[in-house]
């Protein structure tokens, strides 16, 4: 079976600073990986590479069987990403925001409405995003990430502004998808992920395989 993620010698640098790697990583379809580590450990850098928001300085990264560098456009239809910033339009309503991104994906209004329903914001569809709380904006950002039913979901600290109910939502959103999620909350990681990767100064800490099952 083709791995959902296969990284070999993956590396990212900013000037002279090596922010990540070299890192080897392999994740099977349907697996859910929690990326843990302190601030500056390289979590966001890794997630941005996995989301094709940045190009690696060295190494190879295949996502869903496609080369993440050469086949970015095809990949982007199959992966969803929610970053640190919510990246929404405060003057538009919750539904208008999702409708806009649905149009960019070649989808329609129905898909936007069903994503809004999925993240529990259907009752706030007509409210402008600027009037939503930070947690509600975070939910909307998650709704945008799953709007097009991606096979691979990359989430950077999605729990940062979510309440208890919002955290339960994460499990529902994941479904059978392959998920990579950065978090500082190891309890949440145990609840919703099947594997974990601990990063320290850009490198995998712990066992030599870079990955370890959380409950092992």
């Amino acid at each position: 079976m083709t791995p959902a993620i296969r990284a070999e010698g993956l590396m990212q640098r900013f000037g002279a600073l090596v922010a990540l790697g070299p890192l080897d990583l392999e994740l099977a379809p349907g697996e859910r990986l929690a990326v843990l580590g302190s601030n500056g450990a390289g979590k966001t850098t890794l997630l941005r590479l996995l989301a094709t928001a940045a190009r690696p300085a060295a190494g190879r990264l295949d996502l869903l069987g496609l080369d993440s560098g050469r086949q970015r456009d095809r990949l982007r239809a199959r992966l969803g990403y929610a970053g640190h910033q919510v990246g929404l339009y405060p003057a538009l309503t919750a539904l208008e925001n999702l409708e806009f991104f649905a149009r960019l994906h070649g989808l329609g209004r129905v898909d936007a409405a069903s994503a809004l329903e999925l993240v529990g914001l259907a009752s706030l569809a007509g409210r402008s995003v600027g009037q939503l709380s930070r947690g509600q904006q975070q939910r909307l950002s998650l709704g945008r990430a799953v709007l097009h039913r991606p096979e691979l979901l990359v989430l950077d600290e999605p729990d940062a502004s979510l309440d208890g109910e919002g955290r339960n939502l994460l499990g529902r959103l994941f479904g059978g998808r392959t998920v990579v999620m950065a978090t500082h909350d190891s309890t949440l990681a145990r609840q919703v992920c099947t594997r974990a990767l601990l990063l320290r100064a850009g490198r995998a800490a712990g066992d030599p395989w870079s990955l370890r099952v959380v409950d092992a």
């Binding site: 094709t52 970015r72 982007r76 208008e96 991104f101 960019l104």
Partner: protein, 225 residues
């Protein structure tokens, strides 16, 4: 077809956001009127000198209003993270860029809708159809490269300084050729009297096509690291 759908979706989103938030348009309209008032006093304009200096004042105001309109287009989206969210869809950077350029051009046209009547009122400038067409043709070219440089500048910290440094020299052809066209039109002459090789509207349309092609080819590299 999907390309056009994305272009219109992005432009519609930008214009709808602007109409709701009213951040840029009122400021631009105010800037235009204030610039004309300042020009009025600075040049000590009267009924004779007003129409004579009008072409220069028009292009000065238009160029600086353009810098404000295009500068905000990408900077705000870059700061909020929504530009990255758009780029991570399969929509394609060229279509996203074209949509944003279209919206910025529409904002500049709205600004021109204030500028031209205000010039007639404050400076006594004769505004004819030729003047309007000249300004609109220049807007297309200014919007394409202006948006490209705005996208480039948005990636840097010194974006407010970088945009004028990049855009102003490239807009010079529009100021020179458009200035000539407006001068001829405001003096009551017809552009048809000029030889075909130096027809300002044709020259500006050539620049429009060149700049549109360059901007659409370069957009991918500017937006999608």
């Amino acid at each position: 077809m999907q390309f056009l759908r994305v272009v219109f979706a992005v432009a519609q989103k930008d214009l709808r956001s602007e109409l709701r938030a009213r951040e840029l348009l009122p400021a631009l309209a105010q800037f235009v009127v204030l610039a004309l008032v300042i020009a009025n006093f600075a040049f000590d304009l009267d009924l004779v000198s007003g129409p004579r200096l009008s072409p220069g004042i028009l292009w000065l105001v238009l160029v600086f209003a353009g810098l404000v309109a295009f500068g905000r287009a990408f900077a705000a989206e870059k700061e909020s993270g929504s530009l990255e969210a758009m780029l991570l869809t399969p929509a394609g950077p060229a279509a996203i860029f074209a949509g944003k350029a279209l919206a910025s051009a529409a904002l500049l046209v709205a600004c021109e809708a204030v500028l031209l009547p205000a010039m007639a009122v404050f400076l006594g400038s004769p505004i004819s159809a030729t003047v309007v067409v000249t300004v609109l043709v220049a807007t297309a070219g200014m919007a394409s490269l202006g948006s490209l440089f705005a996208a480039l500048a948005a990636q840097t910290r010194a974006r407010d300084l970088l945009l004028p440094v990049l855009a102003l020299p490239i807009w010079v052809p529009f100021v020179v050729v458009g200035g000539k066209a407006v001068q001829v039109a405001m003096s009551g002459q017809s552009l048809a009297a000029l030889p075909l090789s130096s027809q300002p509207l044709i020259v500006m349309a050539d620049f429009d096509i060149l700049f549109l092609v360059v901007a659409s080819l370069a957009a991918r590299f500017v937006l999608d690291d």
